[in-house]
């Protein structure tokens, strides 16, 4: 009865419907909330994969909501780029929904239905941002993701409420800037549909209002992705959030924002406008360089594992933004590939942190003592993730870095090359330091109960299995990078570049 043409809508609608079912189910039986969430995520993941395969075989999909053709109605446009991002988002949503069970039971025992309701809405929001072809629809979904994230972060420990509030202020400024930019586009063209805007805008490229619109949207999106110099809210917000929240938000939020930036730059505006009329791209690459170097240096000064990772996220955002703004083939390819790789690497790292928090009740370096003996599987996964963050072949992280380096050479932007290599070296120091901490018993433990704590004390299977899948995924992606590039990534390069 349901035709194959309807599959794209299920990616978004199933988690959306599940959110309300979960909130109702929570009133009767709390234990149904998490399985319902897993079920919804798996359907969504299945639909996303089916859509990706369809896009690879048959090209771009257009789905008209309400049956109204664009620009009158809202449409979904799924091409290679967002089909890939959809799979990433629904995969991360699926993995974390399995993983979160124990950790939510420990951290938010009396708020389980609310947590999973917001969790599903958050994933819906991220999927909706990715799939939509309408500039205003994107804003509405941006706000859903934002509101859910504020709440999910604010229920964490310590300074969580304050960092949640700061994030709320910055996030609202970002979303409002985006909305203002869309308003400027609307007043100049009368359309909200991205493809329609793409057609209408070239005749207006000289106009100051369009220029300001582009700037406003860019600044709004940069605020959302914590690009330098608008990164201040991120480290605290992600550090104090509950483990399951940061596992979901840290890999996805920044990457989806990067996706939105690429979409705005190339699908609403055009490469010609972005790189020729708007000749700022060298400055943006310099900002990216500062983000990479600054993020790495701040990460070096941290004594807290999770906080260190949050600074690395800022550096990784620099990778992707810089790669896109290198304005050449290899740079953009590297950036898009890095969206995939970095979301997997960050997911892997935060899953490890979540397990450490679950077992040792903290994420300070002191909590890491002799973890290699206590949790061999977790730490093996961590090692793969760390190698990937550093960029050692054949892990996934190497290949995107390689493309980014090629792009930097093509663009003659040597400072970006230096920043990439510098950050890889810093990552070597950072992760080997952690491996050292985790190999030996921690200093405070050395004298006390050193004997009792050496036994194997592995994480529960519901946390360990997702982590191992992700870690294996890092290797698989690394091995199949060539295939991914031929089938997906090379189509994401905009025409006229």
């Amino acid at each position: 009865m349901i035709s194959a043409a309807q599959i794209p809508i299920f990616i978004v609608i199933v988690p959306f419907l599940a959110a309300f079912l979960i909130s109702i189910a929570g009133l009767f039986k709390e234990k149904y909330c998490q399985p319902l969430s897993v079920l919804a995520m798996s359907v969504s993941l299945y639909a996303a994969v089916a859509t990706l395969i369809h896009v690879i075989n048959h090209g771009v999909i257009h789905y008209h909501l309400g049956g109204w053709p664009p620009p009158i109605g809202i449409e979904y446009v799924i091409d290679h780029l967002n089909a890939m991002v959809l799979v990433i988002v629904s995969f991360v949503g699926f993995i974390v929904s399995i993983y979160s069970k124990k950790s939510v039971e420990q951290e938010l025992p009396d708020k389980i239905p609310q947590f999973y309701t917001l969790y599903n809405l958050l994933v819906t929001g991220l999927l909706g941002i990715t799939i939509t072809g309408d500039a205003f629809n994107l804003y509405v979904l941006l706000e859903i993701t934002a509101l859910t994230t504020y709440a999910l972060i604010a229920v964490g420990r310590g300074r969580a409420a304050l960092s949640g509030f700061n994030y709320l202020i910055m996030g609202t400024i970002g979303a409002s800037f985006y909305l203002l930019g869309v308003g400027h586009l609307y007043i100049m063209t009368g359309s909200l549909n991205m493809a329609d805007l793409h057609q209408l805008l070239p005749s207006l490229y000289g106009s100051g209002a369009i220029f300001i619109a582009f700037l406003l949207i860019l600044i709004g999106v940069w605020l959302k992705m914590a690009f330098f110099p608008m990164h201040g809210w991120l480290p605290n917000a992600y550090t104090y959030a509950p483990s399951s929240t940061s596992c979901l938000v840290a890999p996805l939020m920044t990457k989806v924002s990067v996706y939105v930036m690429i979409r705005i730059m190339f699908s609403v505006f055009s490469p010609k406008f972005t790189f020729q009329e708007f000749s700022f791209h060298e400055i943006v690459v310099w900002l990216a360089v500062v983000a990479i170097v600054g993020g790495s240096l701040f990460a070096l000064t941290q004594k807290d594992f999770k906080k260190m990772l949050t600074y690395l996220i800022i550096a990784e955002v620099g990778y992707m933004v810089g790669g896109v703004w290198l304005a050449n083939h290899n740079g953009i390819m590297g950036a898009v590939l890095h969206i995939l790789n970095d979301s997997m690497m960050t997911l892997c790292m935060f899953l490890v942190v979540g397990i450490i928090v679950y077992k040792t009740k903290g994420h300070h370096f002191d909590n890491l003592g002799s973890l290699y003996k206590k949790m061999p599987f977790t730490m093996a996964a961590f090692t793969i993730g760390a190698l990937s963050m550093i960029g050692v072949p054949p892990t996934a992280g190497f290949f995107s870095k390689w493309y980014l380096i090629l792009g930097a050479i093509d663009a003659n932007q040597w400072e970006f090359l230096v920043a990439l290599i510098f950050s890889s070296l810093v990552n070597v120091v950072l992760f080997f330091r952690i491996i050292e901490f985790a190999y030996y018993p921690s200093f405070s433990n050395q004298h006390g109960d050193a004997h009792g704590s050496e036994k194997i004390d592995e994480a529960p299977a519901s946390m360990l299995v997702p982590l191992l899948i992700v870690a294996a995924g890092l290797l698989v992606i690394g091995v199949f990078t060539g295939k991914i590039v031929t089938y997906i990534i090379q189509y994401t390069i905009p025409n006229g570049l």
Binding site: F16, E143, T148, Y186, I187, G208
Partner: protein, 251 residues
């Protein structure tokens, strides 16, 4: 900090002033915004949806997908407030709570007037919801008025008086049901073989309705869902904020 703030604000202001130079003059019927997409809505709404209030038809049909997420933004806010504030245990420390000096005397005039006026407010709310097709109104406005009638009860009596009429459980249930009505109508369209939220296929299950009338009924259906959800969530947000998540006496 202040200086940086001022500089940022002024550079933003300058940029926006600069952008206004290129804007078409205010209220110009020949501006691009008035010529490109919107004429279609004004000219075709009667023919395509049978709804004379163009704002309603655009809101619930042409851009109905936006509105569905808009409703879920409210729902999100309600659940978020519950997640942040609700305290199920009673042993929360209250060291920073302002001391309530003495209990406010219940005022007989206010309570009597409230008792009389609440049914009329709710009746008006139903009118606003149902008449959204032909006059200003619709699900959001009607839902807020409905919610306000309950909040009025809570203010003039106390929170308990409101919770006796609509308990916390029922409230969350209603919020979920409201959104399930909206997205359920959308999903029903998919089951009947059309795109999501394409109400015209509802003529297959609504007796004696043409495709255009089916759109009109579909809009009414989602407006009712919106109204229920908005009402429930407004009440939930008020109850949590006013009682600090404890659902006791309230303000």
């Amino acid at each position: 900090m202040k200086a940086i703030g001022l500089i940022t604000v002024f550079s933003l202001g300058m940029a926006l002033f600069y952008a206004t130079i290129d804007f078409p003059p205010w209220a110009d019927p020949q501006s691009p915004a008035s010529l490109h997409v919107s004429p279609h809505y004004i000219q075709e709404t009667m023919k395509e949806t049978d709804v004379s209030n163009v704002v309603t038809s655009v809101l619930a049909d042409y851009r109905g997908f936006d509105t569905m997420f808009e409703t879920s933004v409210i729902f999100t806010a309600g659940i978020a407030v519950i997640l942040i504030l609700r305290k199920y245990s009673k042993k929360e420390d209250e060291k920073f709570l302002p001391e309530v000096s003495e209990e406010a005397e219940p005022d007989i005039i206010i309570q009597t007037v409230t008792r009389i006026i609440v049914p009329f407010i709710q009746l008006f709310a139903l009118y606003v919801i149902a008449h959204g097709h032909h006059s200003p109104g619709g699900g959001f406005q009607g839902g807020v008025i409905l919610g306000a009638s309950f909040i009025l009860l809570a203010i003039s009596f106390n929170l308990k008086a409101m919770l006796r009429r609509i308990s916390e459980r029922k409230d969350i249930l209603l919020g979920g049901i409201g959104l399930l009505i909206y997205s359920g109508i959308g999903a029903l369209c998919v089951l009947l073989g059309a795109n999501f939220l394409n109400y015209k296929v509802l003529h297959l299950i609504i007796p004696e309705a043409s495709q255009v009338e089916a759109r009109s009924y579909g809009i009414l259906g989602v407006e009712i869902g919106v109204a229920i959800a908005v009402m429930a969530i407004m009440i939930a947000i008020y109850a949590n904020l006013s009682s600090d998540g404890k659902y006791d006496k309230g303000l």
